[in-house]
C-alpha cells in the first residue's frame, strides 16, 4: 500500500516535470508547426502562391524526380556546402576557442572574441557586397595579385568561374560563420572543471594529451550539437548565395534553398516549391535520426 503510493507519487512527479517542457513545446508548435502543416499540404496542389490551388496529387513530386534538371545540381551544391560547414568552421573554431580561452589578459581575450564574432553580426547584404567588390576582376584582389606578379591568380574570376564560384561564396559565408561557432565552443569550454586539467598535469600529461583526454570529452556534447546544427542549417543556407551570385553563373551556385525561392517567388510555382520543401524536410529528418543515434552514443560515453 505504502510503496504503491510512493510509486504513484514519483510517477506523478515524473509527469509534473512535463510542465517545464510543455510551455515551450506548445508555443513553438502553435506558431511554427501548425502553419507549416498547411504549407506541406499545399505541396499536393498546383498553386502559384497567391490563390485558388488545384489538387494535382503527386504530380509535383513526380516532376521533381523526373523532369527537374536543376534539382540534382542544387542537391550536389548543397552537399558540397554542407560538407564544408560540418568540417572546416567547426575544426577551426574549436582550436581557436581553445587558444583564445588560454589568453590570460581579459582585455586581449575579449578583443579576439569580439573581433572573430563581428562578421557574423554584419548583415549579409552588406558583407556580400563588400566581398563581391574584393572578387571583382577589375579592382578587387586581382589588382593585389597583379602587383605581386601572380598573373595566374589575377586572371581568376572568383564569382564568374563555374568551378570556383561556389567556393568563393562558401569562403565568405565561412568568414561570417565560424566566429559564431567559436562563441558556442568558448562557452562550452568554460564548463570544464580546471581541476581536471590540474590533476592530469600533475600526472604528467602534456598539452596534446590534455586536449584529447579532457578538452574533447568535455565539449563533445557541444560538438555533436554543433555538427547537427551545421548540417541542418547548411541545407537551409540562402543569404550569401542570393546576395552575391543568385545561383549563378548558370546554375553553378544554385542551392536547394535558392531553387525553392526561385520557384516560389520568381516562377510563381509555390506548390512545387513546397514539394521541394518536403524533400528538404525529409533530408533533414534522416540526418536528424543519424544524429540522434550518434548523440546517444556520445552522451553515454561521457
Amino acid at each position: 500500500m505504502r510503496s504503491s503510493l510512493l510509486k504513484n507519487k514519483s510517477e506523478l512527479k515524473r509527469w509534473a516535470g512535463l510542465l517545464f517542457v510543455l510551455p515551450a513545446f506548445i508555443y513553438h508548435f502553435i506558431v511554427v508547426i501548425v502553419p507549416s502543416i498547411k504549407t506541406l499540404y499545399l505541396s499536393f496542389f498546383d498553386w502559384n502562391g497567391i490563390g485558388n490551388p488545384t489538387f494535382i496529387g503527386l504530380d509535383n513530386f513526380i516532376e521533381m524526380f523526373t523532369a527537374d534538371e536543376v534539382l540534382p545540381v542544387a542537391l550536389k551544391n548543397t552537399t558540397v556546402w554542407t560538407l564544408w560547414f560540418v568540417t572546416v568552421p567547426i575544426i577551426l573554431s574549436l582550436f581557436v576557442a581553445v587558444w583564445v580561452s588560454g589568453v590570460k589578459r581579459p582585455k586581449v581575450q575579449m578583443f579576439y572574441r569580439t573581433t572573430y564574432f563581428l562578421p557574423y553580426v554584419l548583415s549579409a547584404a552588406i558583407a556580400g557586397k563588400i566581398w563581391s567588390n574584393f572578387y571583382n576582376p577589375y579592382y578587387g584582389f586581382s589588382t593585389i595579385f597583379k602587383t605581386m606578379g601572380l598573373d595566374n591568380l589575377a586572371e581568376v574570376m572568383w564569382l564568374g568561374d563555374s568551378k570556383i564560384a561556389l567556393f568563393s561564396v562558401i569562403f565568405v559565408s565561412n568568414w561570417s560563420w565560424w566566429g559564431f561557432v567559436m562563441v558556442l565552443f568558448v562557452s562550452a569550454l568554460q564548463q570544464i572543471d580546471p581541476a581536471l586539467y590540474e590533476a592530469a598535469s600533475i600526472d604528467g600529461a602534456g598539452r596534446v594529451k590534455l586536449f584529447w583526454h579532457i578538452t574533447i570529452p568535455g565539449v563533445s556534447p557541444t560538438i555533436v550539437f554543433i555538427v547537427a546544427m551545421s548540417l541542418m542549417w547548411s541545407i537551409l543556407s540562402f543569404d550569401f548565395v542570393w546576395v552575391m551570385t543568385m545561383g549563378g553563373p548558370g546554375q553553378a551556385t544554385e542551392l536547394l534553398s535558392t531553387w525553392i525561392y526561385k520557384n516560389a517567388f520568381v516562377n510563381y510555382r509555390a506548390g512545387y516549391a513546397n514539394a521541394i520543401c518536403v524533400l528538404q524536410t525529409i533530408i533533414v529528418m534522416v540526418i536528424f535520426f543519424i544524429n540522434q543515434f550518434v548523440r546517444k552514443k556520445v552522451e553515454e560515453a561521457v
Binding site: 512535463l18 506558431v31 504549407t39 502562391g49 552588406i126 568568414w175 568558448v186 542549417w233
Partner: protein, 279 residues
C-alpha cells in the same frame, strides 16, 4: 590552470601569430567598409574600393537622421529584450526539464526541437500572416516578438541542454537534500551555474533579432515601427541605391552589438576564470 605546463615560447608565438592573423582577416572587410563610409556616394559608384578624397563623417549624421535610426534602435532593442526574456524563460525551463528530469517522452522533445530548429521561414510565413492579420497582430511589434521567440527557442533550448548535461548532478542533489523543490533547485542551483550559457544565448538571440530581415520586412510595413535591419533599404531607390549610406547603415547597426558584447563580458570572463562548476 597554474600547474598546467606553460607553452614553449615558440609555440606561444605561433599561436599568437595565428590569432592575430585571424583577427586581421576578420576585420579587414570591416575596415574597408568603414573607409567607404567616409567617402561620398558618387566616389563609391565611380571606384567601388578606394580611399576618400576628403574623409568625412557626414554620412553618419545623414544616415542616422534620414533612416530615423533613433526610432529603429528603440524598436529593435525593445523587440530584442522581449524575445530574450521569453526565450530564456521558455528554453531554460524546457532545457532543464529535458536534461535533468526523467520526464516521459524526453527523446521526443529533444527530437522535436531539433527538427523545429530547421523549419525554413517560407514554410509558415503565408499561413502565419493570415492568422496574424485575422487577430490584428500585423504591424505590431508583438507579431515579430512572437515569431522570433518561437523560432529561436529550439536552438536555445538545445544549447542550454547541452550545457546542463555537462554540469555534475551532485550539486543539484545537494540542493534537494537542503529541502529545495524541483523548481527551487532549478532557480537557485541550476540557473546560476548556467549563467555563462544564458549570457551566450542572450547575445545570440539578440544578434538574430537585430539582423532578422524577412519577418520584420513582411510584418512591419509602417516606418515608425520598423527595425534596424530593414532601415538601410531607405537608401535603396528603384533603380539605384545610395551605397555610401547603405554601408554607413551597416556600420551603425554594428555598434550596439559591440556594446552588448562588452557588457556581457563580465559573465563571460567570470565563467572562464573561475570555472563554471565553482559557481
Amino acid at each position: 590552470m597554474s600547474t598546467v605546463k606553460k607553452r614553449g615560447p615558440l609555440l606561444t608565438a605561433v599561436v599568437h601569430t595565428i590569432l592575430i592573423f585571424l583577427a586581421a582577416f576578420q576585420l579587414f572587410p570591416l575596415v574597408v567598409l568603414f573607409i567607404n563610409t567616409l567617402r561620398t556616394d558618387a566616389e563609391i559608384k565611380q571606384t567601388p574600393l578606394g580611399f576618400p578624397e576628403h574623409a568625412s563623417f557626414i554620412n553618419y549624421a545623414e544616415t542616422w537622421m534620414k533612416g530615423s535610426y533613433a526610432v529603429a534602435f528603440r524598436n529593435s532593442i525593445f523587440i530584442g529584450v522581449c524575445v530574450i526574456a521569453i526565450v530564456i524563460v521558455g528554453a531554460g525551463l524546457a532545457a532543464y526539464g529535458v536534461a535533468r528530469l526523467k520526464i516521459p517522452g524526453r527523446n521526443f522533445f529533444i527530437g522535436y526541437f531539433m527538427m523545429g530548429m530547421s523549419f525554413p521561414a517560407f514554410m509558415f510565413i503565408v499561413p502565419l500572416y493570415y492568422n496574424f492579420s485575422e487577430i490584428g497582430l500585423v504591424n505590431t511589434h508583438a507579431s515579430v516578438i512572437i515569431i522570433y521567440a518561437a523560432s529561436y527557442i529550439p536552438f536555445s533550448m538545445l544549447l542550454i541542454r547541452t550545457f546542463l548535461v555537462g554540469i555534475p548532478r551532485e550539486l543539484e542533489e545537494a540542493g534537494k537534500i537542503d529541502g529545495c523543490s524541483e523548481f527551487g533547485v532549478f532557480l537557485h542551483v541550476t540557473m546560476p551555474l548556467s549563467l555563462p550559457i544564458l549570457a551566450t544565448v542572450a547575445l545570440i538571440v539578440f544578434v538574430w533579432c537585430w539582423n532578422e530581415f524577412l519577418w520584420a520586412n513582411t510584418f512591419l510595413t509602417v516606418d515608425d515601427i520598423r527595425t534596424v535591419s530593414t532601415r538601410f533599404y531607405k537608401f535603396v531607390g528603384e533603380w539605384s541605391r545610395d551605397l555610401a549610406k547603405i554601408y554607413t547603415a551597416g556600420m551603425i547597426a554594428l555598434g550596439p552589438i559591440i556594446i552588448l558584447y562588452l557588457c556581457l563580458q563580465k559573465s563571460f570572463i567570470e565563467g572562464l576564470t573561475q570555472g563554471g562548476v565553482k559557481g
